[in-house]
């Protein structure tokens, strides 16, 4: 019935359609063949990086973590300059706070330094020397960009009676130190060889690095807090809300797996100042300790402080029965910091 109408032109409709298809196809092919370069400019070809979820602009020698760190650095710089502007408009452009905030923002550097092969970090603490001053805990807050309002402190220091060393008599809230009959035990993440926190993490957001540092990927953490429950040392802390950090006190030396600014509802903990130690520095708690009770080094290096301490004085770990094999050692050093009574009449301390 359709053929009747088309037959007027001397062709069946089917033949006409066939001819048109052939002509169209041929012209398309020739168009593509001739104007391929032009077409390439119009259409963006898909890249393998895009399909695999990597960015096209990522260079071949940049790892995924480095890319993430670079993005984070841009984000933090933006946030920081916004905060700095607020301070500047409130206190004036010439105020020292404004200048300090701007300087810190310009210094922000988020690193992704990988673990050095053959390095195994460990820390040791001399219980005979520790005076329980909690400076390590406070310096840690500064160094690791911790919240200033929720009183999150990664290091907790407990006082234990010297005579019996009874765990039931430990006190976290002592206000006077050092006392003659007490020893002080600072505790943070023990960076265990078999970390229970890593075992329970349902999304593998926390893992052990080859150099022995247990880290958390804050972007992967879902905030389930299983790890907090699993840790036998109570080393992990939770950000219940957005951390408050004054820009004038921001530590610009950041590591993507360490002290980079955290989002709310993620777990955080000590990373042995990964932003310092991975690059050859010394953790902030070790640096600030006024009596030099802490030591930090590479277990594999025979000249390291840790090897020296273990060989010379012997060391023990907390809760060995938990089977976690901590890499944070405690030891009783050769000399005790002199008891406070001897000099108590002199002054009331510098604070």
């Amino acid at each position: 019935m359709v053929e009747d109408k088309a037959s007027g032109a001397g062709l069946t409709r089917r033949e006409l359609l066939k001819a048109m298809a052939v002509v169209g196809g041929a012209s398309t092919i020739s168009f593509i063949a001739i104007d391929r370069e032009k077409l390439r400019a119009v259409l963006k070809p898909v890249s393998l990086e895009e399909i695999l979820g990597l960015e096209a602009e990522a260079s071949a020698d940049e790892s995924e973590l480095e890319r993430k760190a670079r993005k984070k650095e841009e984000e933090i710089k933006k946030w920081c300059s916004r905060e700095a502007e607020k301070i500047c408009s409130a206190k004036g452009g010439d105020s020292p706070e404004c200048k300090e905030a701007k300087r810190r923002c310009s210094m922000v550097k988020v690193k992704a330094t990988p673990a050095k092969p053959g390095v195994r970090f460990a820390m040791a603490l001399d219980i005979n020397k520790c005076i329980g001053c909690r400076r390590c805990a406070y310096a840690c807050v500064m160094e690791n960009n911790q919240d200033r309002e929720m009183h999150i402190e990664w290091i907790k220091v407990v006082s234990v009676p010297r005579e019996e060393f009874e765990i039931l008599n430990t006190k976290l809230d002592y206000t006077k130190a050092p006392e003659k009959n007490m020893v002080y035990v600072p505790m943070a993440c023990m960076h265990c060889e078999d970390p229970p926190c890593v075992m329970v993490c349902p999304v593998r957001a926390t893992f052990k690095e080859p150099d022995g540092i247990v880290v958390i990927d804050y972007d992967r953490c879902i905030g389930c807090r299983y790890c907090i429950t699993a840790c036998p040392y109570g080393a992990r802390r939770f950000n219940w809300r957005k951390p408050t950090i004054p820009v004038t006190e921001l530590n610009p030396n950041m590591h993507i797996l360490g002290n980079v600014l955290r989002q709310p509802h993620v777990t955080e903990k000590c990373t042995w100042c990964i932003q310092r130690s991975r690059d050859g520095g010394v953790p902030a708690c070790v640096e600030v300790c006024p009596v030099g009770a802490r030591s930090f080094g590479d277990l594999n290096d025979p000249e390291s402080p840790i090897r020296r301490i273990i060989e010379e004085y012997g060391a023990f770990v907390l809760r060995p029965e938990a089977g976690t094999k901590p890499r944070f050692f405690y030891y009783f050093g050769p000399a005790r910091t002199p008891p406070r009574e001897e000099a108590s009449g002199k002054s009331g301390g510098e604070g």
């Binding site: 030099g292 080094g297 510098e350």
Partner: protein, 231 residues
């Protein structure tokens, strides 16, 4: 008369030195500057011949009859007759005064301590004793007032890479060689501002909540029972 003209500039110098010492943070933080009188050592010691078993030197306020170094005499460390030189294990080193001389000068004195404290010196060299810090090339350290008022070392580096760990202080920057033991009180930081937890007797919320919830449950069950029986 000649004697007096020598002493007057010396006293003036001493006064300036004491003032200076007051301004240098380490000296004022850890030591009592009045106790020490700083002079150009050679002014007196070039001609002075000190020998023998001396234990007290009132002019410098030194008394070796007490303290951790009570067993020593001056000549155990100072090279007589010119006492402005100190003995090391295999040689001598010039004297340096904490608070007046720089860190590098004071580091040279560590060798003097090594003679009697080899174990501690080895610990120190292994970074297992005393304070540690790190440096970066071209960087500097600013001491800022940190969280809860503690002094915090803010490192200013361009890249924060290739850092180097090293001892932060020389022996004499912490230990007074004439007293030996460092008083603990002067390094006490401020107390924690964290509030103490409330006493256990005052925590009654759990009990009240349990009683309230129990009553609510009871009332609901009674109400439900009466409702179903009416139906």
């Amino acid at each position: 008369m000649k004697h007096v003209t020598v002493i007057r500039p010396a006293l003036a110098l001493a006064f300036i030195a004491v003032l200076l010492a007051g301004y240098i943070a380490d000296a004022s933080q850890y030591r009592d500057p009045d106790k020490y009188q700083f002079y150009p050592c050679s002014q007196c010691h070039a001609t002075m011949k000190v020998t023998g078993m001396v234990k007290k030197q009132p002019f410098h306020g030194i008394d070796l009859t007490k303290g951790a170094h009570a067993g020593l005499y001056c000549v155990n460390c100072h090279a007589a007759p010119q006492v402005d030189r100190l003995k090391t294990r295999n040689g001598y080193v010039d004297i340096a005064i904490p608070g007046l001389m720089g860190h590098e000068e004071l580091m040279k004195l560590n060798k003097v301590c090594e003679r009697c404290h080899p174990q501690t010196y080895r610990d120190y060299m292994h970074l297992a004793h005393a304070n540690k810090t790190y440096t970066c090339s071209g960087g500097s350290v600013e001491i800022v007032k940190g969280y809860k008022g503690i002094a915090y070392d803010f490192h200013v580096c361009s890249e924060y890479k290739n850092l180097a760990m090293k001892p932060a202080k020389a022996c004499v920057e912490c230990h007074d060689p004439h007293v030996g033991v460092y008083p603990a009180i002067s390094i006490m930081p401020p107390h924690s501002e964290r509030p103490a937890p409330p006493p256990e007797e005052t925590i009654a919320y759990g009990l009240i909540a349990a009683v309230t919830a129990g009553l609510a449950l009871l009332l609901t069950s009674v109400a439900l029972a009466s409702h179903t029986s009416r139906q």
